[in-house]
Amino acid sequence: MNTVIETKNLTKQFGDFTAVDRISFSVKKGEIFGFLGANGAGKTTAMRMLCGLSKPTSGQGFVAGFDIARQTEAVKKSIGYMSQKFSLYEDLTVKENIRLFAGIYGVKEKTILPKMEETLSTLGLSNEKNSLVKALPLGWKQKLAFSVAIFHEPQIVFLDEPTGGVDPITRRHFWELIYEATERGITVFVTTHYMDEAEYCNRLSIMVDGRIDALDTPAHLRAQFRAETMDEVFRKLARKATRTEI
């Protein structure tokens, strides 16, 4: 199976308000898929549906082959999730966090320990495994959070603005981790409104007023909109938005 996310006319309405308006797209295995949009364009609502947290009003969606409306438990088991706001428990140690999330996702007890050692040494955190997470620098925290999100080898990992505020070198280390994960076959679905992050993606979709208005590789999008940067592409598209921002 090569397609890991597929949606057909996926729609979510809140009363009269159509937050997500018939979006259709598919994401291939091992792809880094960027999900862009202005504040209030419907990104969060769409991602909640894909994670099985919110039932679509109409349309269909499949994640890892499971129906997001009916097989939410199976969907949740095959994905990982990380956001800038919440990902790790600050008052637990590095080791305790890994054990906790490994346990939640049902990783087998005997594989936890060797895999934890491996993860910690890749991150250079072996000496810090008994430190509280809150004592770590922000960049390390985010790298650790990502490693925890893919610890159970999910088919897809959802990243919600993962690297806000991180210094440029650490940010690049973070993206190296993401590339390594995709080489192992993990698909990465990332929402962001920072364009430098968008440039790292294989393909990008840009949401405007609840619809997907553009979907292609960064280079093609730049060519299509005759723009120098993704920032420009984004602004040209967002200008068309009619939905009042509030």
């Binding site: 960049g139 991180v166 070198i169 690049r172 409104h193 364009m195």
Partner: protein
């Protein structure tokens, strides 16, 4: 009030929180009417610096003078002349847009009418929603309201701590245009951001990391001071090429920039090359460095 040319003088500021040296011997001067950027990641010490300059924190050592007023001794007078927009949303979500603005106006002993001309270009955009509660505004709108509130008393110095974090690119661009407008009114603006691409919009920028200032220059000058030739090459094969270049002794630094790699070589007199006989050598194109390239360079040097 100070009528001199200098708006802010900071000398040898130090501040420590437990084990963390938040500010390490920071000194700089900001001209009156300048749009000054503090660029650096979270935890670089930007917020601490803002809090000291707005008299909200006491430094361990060193001194700071804002608008001719010492931030420690003259804090009462100082607080009348500065506008401050902290990093997180700092308005009252249960008050309406208009009530928030009105409240901040009276807080500074003024009225909306008195300085309406100054905030008008910004406030006009949110005025249609003036009876809406501030908590129900979108990110971009909240930010405009917060800026209006920080401006309503016509401060001579405006401090904006990461005003564009979490705001979409369209609103961010609009925001910077508003700052330009305020600058033309003669207001000194100190603004921080973790995003390098915003640096070019400032008159001068300070690159900050671990409580230290790495460099203070105009954006053009910072770019000009990049000591190497910078090349870019397409990163076709995901991580493979990056790893190869990193191992290569001729390569001084290599960093990902979207679908490209930015590379500098130890010896700029030689043409860029690649020594993997199994594959055709990648194409290196010389490019002008960005602020982000400079920041990375300065960071890895320090």
């Amino acid at each position: 009030m100070n009528t001199g040319k200098t708006a802010i003088v900071v000398s040898k500021l130090n501040k420590r929180f437990g084990n963390i040296q938040a500010l390490n011997d920071v000194s700089f001067e900001i001209e009156r009417g300048e749009l000054f950027g503090l660029i650096g990641p979270d935890g670089a010490g930007k917020t601490t610096l803002f809090r000291i300059l707005t008299s909200l924190l006491l430094a361990d050592s060193g001194s700071a003078v804002v608008d001719g007023l010492d931030v420690v001794n003259d804090y009462r007078e100082l607080r009348k002349h500065i506008g401050y927009m902290p990093g997180r949303f700092s308005l009252y979500p249960d008050l309406t847009v208009e009530e928030n603005l009105h409240f901040f106006a009276t807080l500074f002993n003024t009225t909306i009418q008195e300085n309406y001309r100054l905030v008008e270009p910004i406030y006009r955009q949110i005025e249609p929603f003036k009876n809406r509660r501030a908590g129900k505004l979108s990110g971009g709108m909240k930010q405009k309201l917060a800026l209006s509130c920080a401006l309503i008393h016509k401060p001579s110095v405006l401090f904006l701590d990461e005003p564009t974090t979490g705001v979409d690119p369209v609103s961010r661009k609009e925001f910077w245009e508003m700052l330009r407008l305020l600058k033309s009114e003669g207001i000194t603006i100190v603004v921080s951001t973790p995003y390098m691409d915003e640096a070019t919009r400032c008159d001068r920028i300070a690159l900050v990391q671990h409580g230290k200032i790495l460099s203070i220059e105009t954006p053009e000058q910072i770019v000009r001071q990049f000591p190497k030739k910078l090349y870019r090459t397409e990163m076709r094969n995901q991580l493979q090429l990056l790893k190869e270049l990193r191992e290569n002794p001729a390569v001084e630094s290599v960093f990902m920039f979207g679908e490209y790699l930015h590379v500098t070589f130890t010896d700029d007199t030689l043409a860029p090359y690649h020594s993997n006989p199994d594959r055709p050598s990648p194409v290196f194109t010389e490019i002008p460095p960005s602020i982000e390239d400079c920041f990375i360079h300065l960071m890895s040097k320090s």
